[in-house]
Homo-oligomer: 200 residues x 2
């Protein structure tokens, strides 16, 4: 979401919701009023609250069309959306904090088992993404075409996290190349966790 | 995907991919050529293969606009998309077959533990959905407005599965009402698993 706002040059104020502080600030009444699901992120635009990362990004793209985050051709849009969904549906939901907490408490998984789980879904997803990208021409700077799309916005934070979790990424040269190219862009750099005001 | 095709009155041929036959037909070379990820569904339209349910539905909606699967107002579109994403990202990915297989083999989870896991994520998701729907007016026939949208297309199969897994749904009167209303529509009925040619 921050990457999309930066790419479009939309000014915004961040309110940080600490997932591990005070038993999870996302579960406190103040945040639940915004998003009853208690998950981040939520975008507040005037009186409207929008939840779910991909719905927020689609909203920003419709409301502030320049620069676009999807190609114009219908089939290309479908392809780019499918890459974004692959990350958003098949990787991210399995590897986030609430799943980790469930597996640790109810599933009695050790830290090593969590790491194995994390790497398994990263690998499954990245293998599929790499194959998709390899089957389409000229995907070395961005997932598609010559500007960042919603696919890159979804991909880059996952590669960032995979590095943090010491995942081996040698088998994914296209993903790694896209990550490197996006990482030099200001919109991506300024959205990185370590650049946020509350970074500790 | 079948519901979207039916709602739009688009003729199609189904090729059934048996997830449990021959070690998973979705992992056989014939299917991997279509979708390297080895996950269903995939839509083949002429020479184009599109993967990921929500990307397929968005494609169908752009290529065959009538009847629409999203409202026209930008904020309403965002809301409907957020409901669809809540199901597609926060419920479905956690409860599908590949996760069940991983937990059973690598996680040594019993069948009872799988059922508890399944119900946990259904409840988390449905509680959030019910709260979202309750905060918006007149969501008793469909998730939004007076015709089925992508939100209903995502929701109905999840409620169907929750029934199969004996989840208690008394706390979700709006979800249950929407499910009942959609279930009488031919487009939803004909997409139900038991109506498919390969149903056993």
């Amino acid at each position: 979401m921050r990457i999309a706002l930066n790419l479009k040059g939309i000014g915004y104020h961040s309110r940080f919701v600490h997932l591990l502080r005070r038993g999870g600030e996302q579960r406190q009444p103040a945040y639940l009023k915004l998003n009853p699901q208690g998950l981040v992120p939520a975008l507040v635009d005037g009186g409207t609250v929008i939840t779910q990362s991909l719905a927020i990004i689609a909203y920003l793209d419709e409301r502030y069309p320049q620069p676009p985050l999807l190609p114009t051709d219908v089939k290309a849009r479908a392809y780019v959306r499918s890459l974004a969904q692959l990350v958003a549906c098949d990787i991210h939901p399995l590897n986030n904090l609430r799943v980790r907490q469930y597996l640790a408490t109810c599933g009695r998984h050790s830290e090593a088992e969590w790491q194995a789980w994390y790497r398994h879904w990263i690998q499954e997803g990245f293998k599929a993404l790499e194959a998709q990208l390899a089957a389409h021409p000229a995907a070395d700077r961005y997932c598609y075409g010559n500007y960042p799309t919603v696919a890159d916005i979804c991909l880059v934070p996952q590669v960032y996290n995979a590095h943090r979790f010491n995942c081996q990424l040698d088998d994914y040269p296209l993903l790694s190349s896209i990550y490197r190219h996006c990482s030099v862009l200001k919109a991506f750099q300024e959205a990185a966790p370590e650049c946020q005001l509350d970074a500790s």
